[in-house]
Symmetry: C2
Subunit: 243 residues, 2 copies
Amino acid sequence: MRFPSEGRLDDGVLEREFTLGDVPGILWTPEPVSAPVPLILLGHPGGLRKMYPRLAARARRCAADGFAAVTIELPGSGDRPRLAGAEQARADLRRTLQAGEPVGADLIDRLILPLVDTAVPEWRAVLDSALALPGIGGPVGYSGGVISIGVRLAVVEPRITAAVLFAGSFVPRAILEEARQVTIPLHVLLQWDDEGNDRQAALDLFDAFGSEEKSLNANMGGHTGVPQHAGESASGFFTRHLG
Amino acid sequence: MRFPSEGRLDDGVLEREFTLGDVPGILWTPEPVSAPVPLILLGHPGGLRKMYPRLAARARRCAADGFAAVTIELPGSGDRPRLAGAEQARADLRRTLQAGEPVGADLIDRLILPLVDTAVPEWRAVLDSALALPGIGGPVGYSGGVISIGVRLAVVEPRITAAVLFAGSFVPRAILEEARQVTIPLHVLLQWDDEGNDRQAALDLFDAFGSEEKSLNANMGGHTGVPQHAGESASGFFTRHLG
């Protein structure tokens, strides 16, 4: 992890941009800390610059709860090279949505699976580096979307012990199957009228999770309309499981 | 409201049994109070004696949040006279469930509608009496099941300004229609694997509510397995809306 710059937010949270190989990211740590703190991986739909205000707000909340937070740019987003096939899949998605046709399972696979296959090893490498830093210990939580990345990480990465998943993107059939292998505590956020999300698919995914403890928290409004009290409830979930 | 007895719980909550006409009930008030407190109506599936431990726990939580709480026996339950047709409907339900057959809409109507039609005016009379007592002001919340009673009350009783509804019983078609007229903030609890509840019907009911603010909080486990954190989140909902 290389830290080319260092900044500080208003409320005493240390914010550091970094690169890990070719992947840019941001790390937030609460200061001062007397013991190593848990770490939360902040997932998002891609485009670090555009997402920055919301990510920084979530990171501040993590810091207030005593957690470090880290995020990375998604493969194919921001300044990162396009993913093979992704442009074609996105063009096909636009055409399908404009025509008012249902989004087929094959198209969902082409949109999401290359993203998951590429992003998950990157997240695991970030985890290796971040946990090697002084002041960051564990346990580790994953928070946010792309939900399929969160599902795969929950299955393959044993250091992740709890996850807040945001049901706001298409879910490939293979990921629905992987969901049955997830056993960590889950808190799933669903925006009931999410324009970019298939509600029934999100409910099927929630049902599929193998976790003994899982909660679905559905609220009114569109993709970006998650109410403040839902954030508080997600924060309470991490405090119970990582705190 | 006649108070034949008076008791006190361990933690300074005044508990008073009462009768209103032929209807027995229990009223809990936090002490001491400097100003009139909001009131929460505690719904339940019937059988005050059997339900007492859980009701008293919920009332204690209300008192800790600064609210009074009141409950009454359901028509046809406990020592109250049976409701016309209810015994027959319950026998039909048992037979249907034992045969592994789906519970039809007509049977659901016969099971639930007489209960709603009788209980709702009783709840409103309790509200009149309780709000006339010193120390109890408003606003008023409804909390619990039978969910159809909560829906009807939310439509017809303007003094109820927020409701936590427990999706744990059959819902008649007429109540699904009434749900569209509900506009108060709602927090709906659903036990995902509730043995006595049709999950899809509960999701359809949640979707039907006309309220701009409504949250669905679904958790694992059966009818009585609501986790503690779900109670905390419901408590936070009332504090936001009644506190």
